[in-house]
Amino acid sequence: MTKMSESLRQYAHVFIGLVAFWLVALLGRVEASYLFFAGGLFALVVLHLHYSGTGVGRLSVCFEHLKRQGQEADLGFYWYLSGLCLLATFLYRQERLLVALVALGLGDALSTLVGRHGRHKIFYNRNKTLEGSFAMLVSCAPAIYLYGPWGAIYALAVTAVESLPIKVNDNLTICAASAVIFNLF
């Protein structure tokens, strides 16, 4: 995948995060969750049509353009919406949900965009850099501002989860970690 298409992918990531943020802020978490659910179903239909070889017209070109190199099937869009469904259903407090959406939408994209230029590799994951993780930590600033020490614990935990070398999509792991940590306090 070229740097250009990776950037495009991350801008799309931020855009969807922003849309999700405003949907939750304006409609409320329950109504927004219906839209995430509908979006997830739509994503599944499109992904199946594409990967089963039926084709989805011009969308297929988009898929190929945004697909990560070396991946058989890129389900990123579906993981994102699935994660949003998890967040919207398990985070009962709206401001916590919005904080998690900032970490997911902005943090994950920033960590990739900044991390790409980083020089200091993380010792347990040579594909990620300390600079990228720092960007992720910065994007969790609203949590630190709102919840103090608990927010800092959340920021550190989500950053740690994002940097782990596990083969599960970041969007899903960040959402699951956010839901677990925020429900602890």
Binding site: L27, V30, L47, H48, G53, T89, F90, K167, C175, A176
Partner: protein, 185 residues
């Protein structure tokens, strides 16, 4: 529209039940009978396993068919385990506990819907499958119907179904991860 924003700035409001009220107030006898049959956990589990086995038996390449069946079963099992654990952690009361339902209310918890989670997990197991192009759509439609029937009966609120969809995504990611580990070994 601005209620959501007020909620953002102020205390947490009770989740909206508008869609749940509309769906659960419907009354159509054949639909009630089918939904009541699907409500039985044992019958529902048996039906899901029967679908998986039938697809495996119908496959041209039996080896691939059974491997796919194994993946689908792992997917559903993970969805059940994660969902069941979350039910016990969140301990959200079923809507039928405080409102009238079409069948006797179950004594366990509501969030997430295990019926929805396992049905969506089953459909996800056949996502992008070139050998069974139509099967995915049939299973997805079945999962949507099952989700609808849960709300229709009054056993679950709409947010439980959305959570089930998210859990199915988590289970699918977990099954893919386990499958990847298996291949490496």
């Amino acid at each position: 529209m601005w209620d959501g924003m007020n909620e953002f700035m102020g205390p947490v409001a009770a989740p909206s039940q508008a869609l749940f009220s509309i769906i659960s107030s419907l009354d159509f006898r054949p639909l009630t009978i089918i939904s009541a049959v699907l409500d039985s956990s044992y019958l529902f589990a048996l039906l899901l396993v029967a679908i998986v086995v039938a697809v495996a038996l119908k496959a041209k390449d039996k080896k691939i068919g059974w491997r796919q069946a194994k993946f689908a079963l792992v997917c559903m099992l993970l969805a059940f385990v994660i969902g069941y654990a979350l039910k016990e952690i969140t301990k959200v009361e079923r809507p039928c506990a405080s409102a009238q339902a079409k069948i006797p209310c179950r004594q366990d918890y509501s969030l997430p819907s295990l019926h929805a989670a396992t049905a969506f997990a089953l459909s996800l197991a056949y996502l992008g499958d070139r050998r069974h192009k139509r099967l995915f759509f049939i299973l997805l439609a079945f999962a949507i119907f099952v989700s609808f029937s849960r709300v229709y009966l009054g056993m679950h609120s709409t947010i439980d179904v959305v959570a089930g969809f998210g859990i199915a995504g988590l289970a699918y990611a977990g099954a893919l991860w386990l499958e990847g580990r298996g291949k490496r070994k």
